[in-house]
Amino acid sequence: MAPVLETVSLVKRFGGITAASDISLRVEKGARHALIGPNGAGKTTVINLLTGMLRPTSGQILLDGTDITGIEPHERVRRGVARTFQINQLFADLTPIEAIGLAVSERMGTGRQWWRVIGSKSEILDDVVSLIEQFHLGDVMYHRTAILPYGKQRLLEIALAIACRPRVLLLDEPAAGVPDAERHEILATIEALPKDVTVLLIEHDMDIVFSFADRISVMVNGALFVEGEPEDVARDPRVKAVYLGESLDA
């Protein structure tokens, strides 16, 4: 099966530090692919490279076989690659309605219209309403994002990515910092994603990884280390060593 997203020998150096070395990753269509590894392994760097927020030192990124290495981040979103951030990146002064509306409007190609009053297109509103309901943001939808509880902000973080209706969704620790009580809400929304959406997930919580992923890649020191089915990765002694080593260090 052809991969929807593929990297070919991707390298990223910051000065003397190699954050990603020779990454060749294949993400199959419809996969639930997890990217795990110790802190500082370069997982977020890979996401930043895939979304265009960083430019690789060398190597290629292919989306459906098309080279997108030189394409601007916003253009990649239009082509179907969306992401969430490990640390919330939201619009503090906008309300969830406004933020989601923006993302939907952008996807429908009406985001540049300057003569139309916002909220006057029913296709956009219908989409916004269903996202608000899907992500349980109804009770806070008219509040400024800055004053929302953290769990709600986290949901909005994911809702904004889904609003772009991506074919490939890159989730960077979606449940990071969320209290246990609210975790299930976030996990449930991720699990409820349509099956045709391909997901690449970065996560530290192994329970989440093993309950969600059907494929796992392990990164260590900027390089891909092991890749395989969850059971194989779990049994791999090298992976155990890496995680054991990390926990001893910590």
């Binding site: 979304t51 951030f85 503090a92 139309r116 509103l125 309403v129 509040h143 400024r144």
Partner: protein, 348 residues
């Protein structure tokens, strides 16, 4: 269930664009000033021009977060274009000439907008300042065209639309400036309440995320910078047309600084700040200059230092309580009001 919710949201979003009674009152007062203060039309003309200039700056500073210390570049460019068009009788009719001058400044804005895309606020301050200094020096050097340091002499204006000749007391000039200010205000208001306007706020608030939801950050910044330059050019053209003169100081740093101060006094990001600030700034300047002809700049400086000391945050946002009040007494007018939640009784 979904239908009333959709309508509620639509109503909420459109609330941004709804006319507030105080806004209508504001423009009625402006209209009344034509009849009530006939002997103040000269200073009111100055205020209207500064207000339009400040409005143009608010578009980039208040909505897109681009700080500029050289917005006079476009003001001055529009001013000189208007002067040359009138002097050489290229476009004699003032309204057409005004549009042409705005267009010229718009093009200059587009070309120079790429300079402000990169870098921090400090870089932008320096780059914008640099652009205005360069233009000033060019205008100084091509004295065969611009009159150099002596200014552009011999500008004579034809009647507006062929009907209304500029008079010595400045009545026609004031009505003309006020109408132009109002029309461009309407255009700006329409623009900031559109999806484009909202996307500017998102770019200002978090450019990283804006690009991650598919917004072309640079594209939006170029667009608003270009429009803003066009507005500034029209303001400059109004100055030339109403004074029938244009000199190098249209490009001066002082002019860029004055408009920034006027905008900051009035508050950024709600369009009225530039207008209110211009009124306060000019009246303060006028009052202080009458009081102490030699030291008025000292007092203006002191007032500004106090404004800044009150707090950087509050400096830009001191109008927030007023806006909160606005939203409480009527439909939502201002931004950043947490309590702006439509009540169940709020039908569409």
């Amino acid at each position: 269930m979904a239908q009333p919710l959709t309508e509620g949201i639509s109503h909420y979003l459109a609330g941004r664009a709804r006319w507030h009674p105080l806004e209508i009152a504001f423009w009625l007062v402006a209209l009344a000033s034509i009849f009530v203060l006939p002997n103040k039309h000269l200073i009111l003309t100055e205020i209207a021009i500064l207000a339009l200039f400040a409005l143009s700056l608010d578009l980039i500073l208040g909505y897109a977060g681009i700080i500029s210390l050289g917005h006079a570049a476009y003001f001055g460019f529009g001013g000189y274009v208007a002067g040359l068009l009138a002097k050489h009788n290229i476009i004699a009719e003032p309204v057409l000439a005004l549009l042409a001058s705005g267009l010229a400044a718009l093009i200059l804005g587009f070309v120079t907008s790429f300079l402000v895309l990169r870098g921090s606020d400090l870089t932008r301050l320096m780059v914008t300042l640099g652009v205005s200094l360069v233009l000033r020096e060019i205008a100084n050097q091509v004295d065969w065209l611009t009159g150099g340091a002596d200014g552009l002499q011999g500008v004579t204006m034809s009647p507006i639309l062929g009907m209304f000749a500029f008079d010595i007391a400045g009545h026609v000039a004031y009505v003309y400036c006020l109408i132009v200010l109002f029309l461009l205000f309407l255009l700006a208001r329409r623009m900031v309440n559109s999806p484009f306007g909202l996307s500017l706020l998102s770019v200002k608030g978090n450019p990283l995320r804006a690009s991650a939801i598919g917004i072309s950050v640079n594209g939006r910044l170029v667009a608003i910078y270009t429009v803003s330059a066009g507005f500034a050019g029209i303001a400059g053209a109004l100055l030339t047309q109403t004074t029938q003169f244009c000199s190098l100081d249209v490009f001066s740093l002082e002019r860029s600084a004055d408009v920034l101060l006027a905008l900051v006094i009035g508050g950024t990001g709600y369009l009225y700040g530039g207008i209110v600030g211009s009124v306060l700034f000019k009246l303060m300047q006028d009052y202080l200059a009458n009081l102490t002809p030699q030291y008025w700049q000292f007092w203006i400086g002191l007032v500004l230092v106090i404004i800044v000391l009150v707090g950087r945050e509050r400096m830009a946002n001191w109008s927030a309580p007023v806006r909160a009040l606005l939203s409480r007494v009527g439909p939502r007018a201002g931004r950043s009001v947490e309590t702006a939640r439509p009540s169940p009784a709020d039908g569409p």
